[in-house]
Subunit: 211 residues, 2 copies
């Protein structure tokens, strides 16, 4: 049984072509012929790997999500052995922000997915189950901040976690619209973190990258 090409690798390559297109025209403006051209293959070849547009988009979605979580976990694990909760939080938030061209494409893809999820029950369920995970992760970091005495005790970690998640999405929106720049968005995040960790000493320069 000849298996000359790596099926999954091809599928990922095609999926990335989807996002390259979707990040410039929006998901709804992407046709199968466009994807084939962008990926440098024929329409027939594309249909050999994905039997329907829906299957292609679903795969592309999961692929994108995988890449995003990989970027975040890599970034967090690249920190010192015992990073402060504040720093971990900052790195996560910074990575989720559409600061450079790379993450910008990721966020655009995420928005295209979000818009579709609003009107698609299946995708909506997918999002509903993903967000609480992130929220719990953030809340845990904040709880640790409270335990360390860096975050005022009257702050509710769970609420603050949700506020942070919402904040990122909102900032991304206005980032993409060009209402503010990457530096301004990052400054706002740092400003908000400084308010949250108001009991903490200013972070060491070695830990806190230049904002």
């Amino acid at each position: 049984m000849p298996k000359r090409v790596d099926h999954e690798a091809r599928r990922r390559q095609i999926a990335s072509a989807v996002w390259r297109l979707a990040s410039t025209r929006g998901l709804d403006g992407v046709g199968l012929r466009d994807v084939a051209a962008e990926a440098g293959i024929s329409l027939g070849q594309l249909q050999h790997y994905f039997s329907s547009k829906n299957e292609l988009f679903t795969f592309a979605l999961k692929h994108m999500e995988q890449l995003a979580t990989n970027r975040i976990t890599e970034r967090v694990q690249a920190l010192s052995a015992t990073p402060s909760p504040r720093l971990v939080l900052r790195e996560c938030l910074a990575e989720m922000l559409a600061l450079d061209d790379n993450s910008r494409t990721g966020v655009l893809a995420q928005i295209a997915y979000f818009v579709r999820a609003i009107h698609d029950e299946q995708l909506r369920g997918y999002a509903q189950q993903g967000t609480p995970e992130l929220r719990r992760f953030f809340a845990g970091l904040l709880r640790e901040g409270v335990a360390r005495g860096e975050v005022p005790a009257d702050r509710d970690p769970d609420s603050e976690a949700m506020l942070l998640i919402g904040l990122i999405d909102g900032l991304n929106s206005y980032l993409l619209l060009g209402v503010h720049t990457a530096e301004q968005a990052l400054r706002l995040v740092d400003y908000h973190l400084a308010n949250l960790f108001s009991r903490a000493p200013r972070p060491r320069p070695a830990e806190e990258p230049a904002g």
Copy 2:
């Protein structure tokens, strides 16, 4: 020259049909034939009032924006003669949130517009000029809060205003996805406002609606 029908009223009526459809399928899923059917008119009639799809959508956008600002200003002016900045802020934020079916449609329309603006230079310019206005308005309220001694002096009104705007958009996203309910979203807003106005006494029950 006979002018039997109110041209502008018809156009507004058609525009509202656009948003009714867009709020359930997304803007890209709305065709001219759908709009005509939803508005209860023929395609030919629609084309009589809007010479192109672009003109229709542009008009619909401005119409929607008008309705939203009307809702907000009405709500603010319905307050007592000298409302506290905190209360004005809360009413604005509450009105911007997709809490009931009415505002939900508005927010869905707003998102459809946002997605289009990301990839459309003209619309993007429109958004870029609108946001700072709102930001200045919020910042002014916060500045007044600082002057009254209700908001800690180390809070930066301008940054906090932008954070509030971003927060609303983020909360709306997760509201639409069903990640949290209207009550939870409103509670988060009140929680955040309580943090902002930490130097203020608890608002009088007459001023602060039950949350």
